[in-house]
């Protein structure tokens, strides 16, 4: 009788420990985006020069939309990755940005001093475009395929590998 009980309890304990171990090794800050597989909303606004722009597929090419701000420290390290990426993939993809909750002079100064990898930056001073896209922190990056579907969203500073991965996904 006693032995029977342990045959039931033991597998359940193993299952519980397995679940706990899994929980400990996952990153609680990584939140899968429900937007993957959905079309990118065609948000309209102005870029940093006041020109009208529309978010989504740009120039009929797979498009990367990078969310950045001059007040965001992690964006600084990411910026070099984007500059390299624009040189490497510039012919086959479009790279645009959302400048999130930033003052125009600060944003312009950032781009003129660090280099501008973007075709344009959508100026989202109020954060409404960010809310529409489920942005909860900068930097974030959306990868959109030619059909305008979001195929990947990264909520962290990009690395060269992440960028290459995303480009491969959106070019499929």
């Amino acid at each position: 009788m006693m032995r029977n009980v342990w045959w039931v309890i033991f597998p359940v304990l193993i299952l519980l420990f397995g679940l706990l171990a899994y929980g400990l090794t996952t990153n609680p800050k990584h939140i899968p985006s429900p937007l993957i597989g959905k079309p990118f909303p065609a948000l309209q606004g102005k870029d940093l020069n006041g020109t009208d722009v529309t978010l989504g597929v740009v120039d009929g090419k797979p498009t990367i939309v990078n969310v950045w701000a001059s007040w965001c420290g992690a964006c600084r390290t990411e910026h070099n990755v984007l500059l390299r990426g624009a040189r490497r993939y510039g012919d086959s993809i479009s790279l645009v940005a959302i400048n999130y909750k930033d003052e125009l002079p600060n944003a312009r100064r950032w781009l003129s001093s660090l280099g501008d990898p973007y075709q344009w930056s959508f100026h989202d001073l109020s954060g409404r475009a960010g809310l529409e896209l489920g942005v909860y922190g900068v930097p974030e990056t959306f990868f959109i395929n030619k059909q305008g579907i979001i195929v990947e969203k990264i909520s962290a500073p990009l690395t060269d590998e992440m960028l290459a991965n995303g480009v491969a996904l959106m070019s499929k």
């Binding site: 009788m1 006693m2 029977n4 009980v5 039931v8 309890i9 359940v12 609680p28 939140i31 899968p32 985006s33 429900p34 937007l35 909750k101 109020s126 954060g127 409404r128 960010g130 809310l131 529409e132 896209l133 489920g134 909860y136 922190g137």
Partner: protein
């Protein structure tokens, strides 16, 4: 008598004024209340485990402003919550949905409780079964012989006395 009536009238007057003052003091904007009700159900995604209603972060403020705007546009609470779920995922809900993956979260604790209950009952039963006094086994022939001899000897010594 006249003075009494005057006193009563004065106190009634004062009370009616004070009730006016009080009712003005506690009246609140029902729209704000509704905004906070909805915001209490949403997780502030930049601060771990804090509802949007309580957070002072920029994002939470934006979300409250968006809730207010949508309420003014006549959207229902359900529509507004769905707006955030569509963009931020189920994670934005402080109370996980009772479907799909969320069901695991809701069902696991009661199942575990039931399981523990049955496990304890089974263990206690097996223990009480063991604790029962087993009837003594029959004496072996050698033992019976020893008892017989011992009795004989004690009878003898009894006769000696």
């Amino acid at each position: 008598m006249n003075k009494n009536i005057k006193n009563i009238l004065t106190s009634v007057l004062l009370l009616s004024i004070s009730s006016l003052v009080f009712s003005a003091g506690i009246s609140e904007d029902p729209l704000e209340r509704k905004v906070l009700d909805i915001a209490a159900k949403l997780r502030c995604t930049v601060c771990q485990n804090q509802p949007v209603a309580e957070s002072n972060s920029d994002l939470a403020k934006d979300m409250r402003a968006a809730i207010k705007e949508k309420l003014q546009q006549g959207q229902s609470e359900k529509e507004i919550i769905q707006f955030f779920v569509d963009r931020f995922g189920d994670y934005v809900l402080l109370s996980p949905p009772k479907t799909g993956n969320g069901l695991v979260v809701w069902l696991f604790p009661p199942i575990l409780l039931l399981f523990t209950f049955f496990a304890v009952v089974m263990i206690m039963r097996s223990r009480s079964a063991k604790a029962e006094i087993t009837p003594p086994s029959a004496l072996s022939k050698a033992d019976q012989e020893r008892i017989r001899r011992a009795r004989n000897e004690s009878n003898k010594s009894g006769e000696d006395e």
